[in-house]
Each structure stands twice: as structure tokens, then as C-alpha cells.
Amino acid sequence: MTRATPILAVLALILAVWYLAVPMANIQWEVDQAARAGTPTNPAGALGAVLPQTALVLANPDLIPATYAQERPVLPAPHQIVEELWKTTAGTKLSSKKNLVYHGLVTLTSTFWGFVVGSLLGIVMAVMITRSRTVEMGLMPWAIISQTVPVVAIAPMIVVLSNSAGLGEHLGVENRLVSKVIIAAYLSYFPVLVGMIKGLRSPDPMQLDLLKTYSASEGQGFFKLRLPASVPYLFASLKVGIAASLVGTIVGELPTGAVEGLGARMLVGSQFGSPIMVWAALFAAAILGGVLISIVRLAEGLVTRRMGVRA
């Protein structure tokens, strides 16, 4: 409880600031509407030169309620977003294109596969790098450079390449999914690689020497010491990796001409000038991200407890 209080206070503060900001952001439109309808409104007055929006709100307090219920607000109120979220999840059929759960599942699918592919790639590369000095010196600088390359720049190319190679047909899935998975894996492999290298190198010389006195082979040393020792590091980077995978999927849904998925929902919402739709998709993505990280955290707890770590 003592830990939750400050967090709740901060969240309440954010909500309060948000609700205060809504009239300021949306008042201009209401004033314009009223002027067009011939209803008299008050000018901003002397304060308007410094804080035009605030002055307008203070001068027209009777318009404030309307700013919380606009159809296309500059800044929607939190309850409007929650309403939209409710309407597009529980309020529509699951198979409908308007249902956010449907779009969320599309995003979740490629996030999951991108995470699996990326993590496996990261683990394999880490094993190779810790085993061979040549691989380490040749590959590691390029792995770092690969992350300084903004992945969005490559995303359209990945789409073209995987479409023309017909990767999807070979695997029996949609091409669109393949390109999203590649982008997600590209973003999520690196944290796993770095964490795994650190983990595989974490056993100290004393433990390595002990295994040597047991005359353990290289393979035994790897499976009985290095691999178990790397598990805490692995989970720490898996948490970063799954978040990165979600970002990659959403980024991948923007330029790939995707018609489904949370990223596509944001694109459609911005093209149709429907801010509440964009905000709802953004919140859905945030919730999805939070759930995914919690799942990895849960798995971490189970595995480490199984391995004998006391909480």
C-alpha cells in the first residue's frame, strides 16, 4: 500500500491536468461554432495576449461542458477515450473490422512471432559470439550498427523483398504478417543478444575452474553452468525485447499498407480526422504492451523460483 500511494497520486495528478487541459485545447472550436450560430460569445479580453486559450475559457465558462463532448476534439477527455474503447471492444461483434480486440489480436500475432524469432536469433548469435572470437570481432560492431539504423527506413524494403520472395506463401501465412514479423524481430533481437552475452559470461573464474577440476567438457560447462547462469539476464532482456517487438509491429503496420492491426487503426484514424479513434488505438496498444510485459514478468517469477531463487 505504501508503494502504491505515490503511484496513484501521480496518476491522479496526470488525470487532473488532463481534464484541465481539455477545455483549453477545445474551446476555440466551440467559440467558432457559437459565433457561426449567431450566439454571442465573450472575447478573450486583456489576458488573451498572454494566454489566449485560458482567457477564452475564463471568458466563456458556459461553453466548458461542450468541450468535453466534441466529436473531433483537439484533445479528447479521458472518459471519451474509455467510452470509445468500451464501444469498440465490448460493444461490437468480435469479427467486425471496427472491433479493437480484432485489431489487437492481429498486432499480437506478429508481436508474438517477432518476439520468438528475435529472441531465438539473439540467443543463437550470443552463443556464437561467446564461442568464437572471430564471430565476435566481425559481427558485434555490425549488430550495434544495425540498431543505429532507424528500422522504419527499412520497413518498406522488407515488405517489397518478402512480397517478391513469396516468403509468406512458402510458410502458408500472409505476406503482410511476414514483413511485420521481420521488423519486430529486427528490433527485439538486440536487447536479447546483449543480455545473453552478459549472462553467458557471468560465471566467475572460480566456478569455471571448479567445473574444470570435475573435468567437465565444453558442452557440459555450457549446459550446466553458463546457460543456467544466463537465465536472469535473459529474462531482463526479454522484457525489453517484447516491448521492442510491439513497437516494431506497430511501426511495421504503418508503411506496409496494412488494413488491420492497431498501427493501421492509428493511420486510418489520422487520415479520417478522427482523433478519438487514434487515442483509443494508442491506449489499446499501451494496454497490450503492459499485459505482455507482465506475462514475461510472471514467467520470470515462475522459472527463477523453479531454479531455486528465493524472492
Binding site: 572470437r133 570481432m137 518498406p156
Partner: protein
């Protein structure tokens, strides 16, 4: 076919050279440390060129590196303008504002323990979220020009830097803080002479994460509307025209800027935190 054989042979030869270099006694010298990845990269380029020419891959699928090089040389003015619009105006401006705001916020948060206990978990959570999603909202708020791109970058850079800076401000040990207190240092003296320097390794950790995020944010935001220039704009229009060498030229520009940006921040880190164990030789 001869192209293909040459490329594979080149690959094998460079691999052999690398293996020899890595296990030789000169492996830890500076030249070799740069030479090995350089050879590795050159081998990939030659392999790419060889496969494209040897198998006759059409240009609309994957252009050869030489064709991309020609496209870069032919379109230098356009590439330069796009680079300035996206990387400097959108990316760098947003990065500087975001990083500065995060440092100021971290100092404020650090002064109020209650805020720190509440804001840190929230900040950590937000830092892991797909913040790129705010791009369409920022474009709605700030228009199509670079201001909206900078705004996206500000938010994306803010949270990793904030979280790292708050951790960094806590990095001084009790002994140093007691020492500086016995010298009668004020809060600000202690902040600037002890806690800021101690926080630098953490700060740069966040700043380095921010470099990639800044470029991603600046380019992604261009998908939601941009003036008729910019790296992201050019890539999406060139893909539509199947002008693939131009797309790859822009990718090269973005990749190079990203690497240089990261390298610059890393170089500044090296100069600022020369005393840290990770920088010692």
C-alpha cells in the same frame, strides 16, 4: 555465374583473414579492431553484388550496391535536403529539447521524494510503451512541417533519459555526500560538483538509447503527413514509384546518420566520463 563464384570466394577469403587476425597476437590493436568488421562488411557488400548480378535479381526487387551508389551520387542535392528536413530539423531539435526537458524534470523529481516514488514506476512503464503511436496526434496538433516530428521525438526521448537521469542522481554514495556536506556545500554546489558528474554515465546511457528513438520518431511521423521532402516521405513515395535505388539511397542516408549520431554521443560520453571504469584502458 562467375560473379556468384567470385563473391563466395571473396567471402571465404575474408573470413579466413578475419579468423587469422582474430587469433593473432595483434588482435587487440586498434587497427585490427576496425579492420575485422570492415572486412566483414565489405564481404557482405561483395556477396550482395555477386548474388544480384549472378542470379540476375531484377532491380525492382533488390538493386545491387553499385546501382545504389550511383543513385546516391546522382541525387545528392535531394538527399541533402531530405536529410536536413528529417534528421536536423525534426530529429536533432526534438532530441535536444527532449533530453534537456528530461534532465530538468529529473532534478525536480529528485527534490521531491514522494514524486520520485510515484513518477518513476509510471515513467518506467511509459518508456516501455509504443510511444511512436502519438505520431498521428502530434501531426494533428502541430501540422505537417517539422514541428510535429520534433514533438514526437521530444516525447520519445524524454522517458528513457528521465528514468536514467533519476537513477544517476542517486548514484552518489553516502561518503561523498557527507564529505561535500562537511565542506559546507549548498544544494546547488553539491548538485553541480558531485551529483551531476556522478550521474553522467547514467545520463549518457539514456542519451544513447535516445539517438535511435529520435530517428525512428522523426521518420515514422512523416508517414502521417509531411511537406514534400524528408527521408520518410521520400521512401514512401519512391516505393510507390518502384524507384528502389532511390529508396536504398535514403536508407543509406538514414543508416549513416544514425550511426554517426550514435558515434557522436558515444564520443562525447568518452570525453565527459573519462574517469569511469568502463572507459579506462
Amino acid at each position: 555465374m562467375s560473379w556468384l563464384i567470385f563473391a563466395v570466394a571473396f567471402w571465404l577469403v575474408t573470413w579466413a583473414i578475419n579468423a587469422a587476425l582474430a587469433s593473432s597476437s595483434a588482435a587487440s590493436t586498434r587497427v585490427v579492431k576496425i579492420l575485422i568488421p570492415a572486412l566483414f562488411g565489405a564481404a557482405i557488400l561483395v556477396l550482395w553484388e555477386g548474388v544480384v548480378r549472378g542470379l540476375g535479381v531484377p532491380e525492382v526487387v533488390l538493386p545491387a550496391p553499385s546501382v545504389i551508389g550511383a543513385a546516391i551520387a546522382a541525387n545528392l542535392p535531394t538527399l541533402g535536403l531530405d536529410w536536413f528536413q528529417t534528421i536536423i530539423k525534426g530529429g536533432l531539435t526534438g532530441y535536444l529539447i527532449g533530453a534537456f526537458a528530461a534532465v530538468v524534470a529529473a532534478v525536480l523529481v529528485d527534490r521531491v521524494p514522494f514524486l520520485k516514488r510515484g513518477l518513476l514506476p509510471v515513467g518506467n512503464f511509459v518508456a516501455a510503451l509504443p510511444i511512436v503511436g502519438i505520431a498521428p496526434i502530434m501531426v494533428m496538433w502541430f501540422g505537417f512541417d517539422w514541428h510535429s516530428k520534433a514533438a514526437v521525438v521530444v516525447v520519445m526521448v524524454f522517458f528513457p533519459v528521465l528514468v536514467n537521469m533519476v537513477a544517476g542522481l542517486e548514484a552518489t554514495d553516502r561518503l561523498s555526500r557527507d564529505l561535500i556536506a562537511t565542506w559546507g556545500a549548498s544544494y546547488w554546489q553539491a548538485l553541480f560538483k558531485l551529483r551531476f558528474p556522478a550521474a553522467m554515465p547514467f545520463l549518457f546511457n539514456g542519451l544513447k538509447i535516445g539517438t535511435t528513438l529520435a530517428l525512428i520518431g522523426a521518420i515514422v511521423a512523416e508517414n502521417f503527413g509531411s511537406p514534400t521532402l524528408g527521408v520518410g516521405f521520400r521512401i514512401s513515395t519512391a516505393v510507390g514509384q518502384l524507384a528502389l535505388p532511390m529508396v536504398w539511397a535514403e536508407i543509406a542516408v538514414a543508416a549513416l546518420s544514425g550511426s554517426v549520431f550514435y558515434g557522436l554521443v558515444a564520443a562525447i560520453e568518452k570525453a565527459v566520463t573519462f574517469w569511469h571504469p568502463s572507459q579506462r584502458r
